[in-house]
Symmetry: C2
Subunit: 302 residues, 2 copies
């Protein structure tokens, strides 16, 4: 098993802190698994607490840190996004969708429980994401909370993440070109990564200039991340990635690798990662973890 | 085909107005079915625009009317709840859940499209429900919008509607008593009916006394409605109800009819409907449609 290159110091500190904070918050915010409804709560917890890179929470916490946002606010917003991300994985893994048995090195939710429970656990996680954002503990100003909810709903909905998943499923039957796959990935994963960076800017009442920089960073980071994912799906092992690999090729899906070839995909991912970090030039050293992250997402092995 | 008893004048006017307003709003708020993603938008529209009683929107509009809430605010809140209701029907009809082929006299969404599209259309409808509530057009005060979002998320989530659906699925393998089935139905359908009445009270900044009256009304109405549904499932025809009937018995599910027997279920439903109307005594004649509705839900044939 190859080990990923070690993240830089600022990033590895941020990753450890994110992991600790987000696991505590998820445990605290999700319903306890007890009583007659225990199965649903168990499935929600199983789908959210089995590891994962916590990329989106990291982005929320690190972008929030640029503006001195209180930690408890940032952590709640981060947990809300992670709930949405985890619901999307649970539903995407279903037999009617990507039909995946393995996720983060463990059986997927519908394999561990059953299909009905997986559908409902996803629905409940999607719902609680908005509940968490709407709560006064997330920000004292309800106008800010509504901005977060609007941005998340737009990014996660029919014209965002869900629309991207729809395009992805339809892509199994049609070849996409580089433009088509870029659009698909911008919707499927890019919109939620964008929102993860935007959340810090909303919570911190960032200036338009700062917002624009974070938006450009998120755009390039998201695309680099997805290219790296496609490269890992084509070249990695289940041991490294903790999920089923080679599925895109098996399903006849267009990916950045199938369209650009492995070398060009690697080159473009590296270029985008470099460009992402450049967008952060207006921020000081508090943005170092975000800079290191851009490099890390294209160098990781899993 | 039996025809249902004619609703009273106030109710029939309210039903016609609700139907017109809500269909317009849904058509306006949902993404247009065009371009590469047309299939998703088509499925969302199919799942929301094929008729339906529009009970929840009626409740939002009529409770809002008690407090002089602006029509455009009330209609947006009503559409948001209907999106959540329709998503829940689409997911509940899936093969892994209730496995229903027929809904409102037409093929269910997964029969008309496919399972993956039905899952995603449901997800997107759930998401847009919150997007609509968070928008400034729903209420000028963001604190009110956050209250609506919180109440909807709690009512629709793991400790509300989704939790009720989970209990319902588990109920296929275990006999429930009257208390168990009442709890199940309070969660599965009652919470969203409660919120439909609460929405008018939130939008209209109702007094605690008024809120309490509407809450009591919603509670009794919801239970009466569900008893009537069970009675229809046991005695109605597909022609009357527009959906598959006799499924509860076939699945070995406990229902109010299986526990109480048909006569007692009818008696209790009538008693609850009467009681529901009594709770509205503090309101003037503008609440007549709500009063007539309580009687109508237990007398309808479909």
């Amino acid at each position: 098993m190859l080990t990923s290159p070690k993240p830089g110091r600022a990033l590895s500190d941020a990753m450890a802190e994110t992991s600790r904070l987000i696991n505590e918050a998820i445990d605290d915010l999700l319903p306890k698994a007890e009583g007659a409804d225990a199965k649903l709560s168990e499935a929600m917890r199983y789908g959210c607490l089995g590891g994962g890179k916590r990329l989106r929470p990291l982005l929320v916490l690190q972008t929030s840190a640029q503006f001195g946002v209180g930690q408890s606010s940032a952590v709640r917003a981060a947990a809300a996004i992670e709930f949405i991300h985890c619901y999307s994985l649970i539903h995407d893994d279903l037999p009617a969708m990507d039909d995946s048995d393995l996720r983060r090195g463990r059986p997927t939710v519908h394999k561990q429980f059953d299909e009905a429970t997986a559908i409902l656990a996803g629905d409940a996680l999607l719902t609680i994401g908005f509940e968490v954002l709407a709560h006064p503990a997330t920000h004292e100003d309800p106008a800010i909370r509504c901005q977060l909810i609007t941005a998340l709903a737009v990014g996660a909905g029919a014209l965002g993440m869900v629309g991207g998943q729809m395009l992805d499923l339809m892509g199994e039957n049609q070849k996409l070109d580089a433009q088509g796959i870029t659009r698909l990935q911008r919707l499927k994963t890019g919109e939620l990564i964008n929102f993860s960076c935007e959340a810090g800017a909303i919570l911190g009442r960032a200036s338009p200039h700062q917002r624009q920089a974070l938006k450009a960073y998120a755009h390039d980071l998201g695309l680099a991340f997805q290219m790296a994912d496609d490269i890992l799906d084509a070249t990695g092992s289940e041991d490294d990635t903790g999920k089923s690999v080679g599925q895109d090729a098996a399903a006849g899906k267009s990916t950045f690798v199938s369209i650009l070839g492995l070398d060009q995909a690697r080159g473009q991912a590296a270029m985008l990662a470099h460009q992402a970090a450049e967008h952060l030039n207006i921020f000081d050293e508090r943005a170092d973890a975000l800079r290191e992250l851009a490099r890390y997402v294209v160098e990781r092995r899993g």
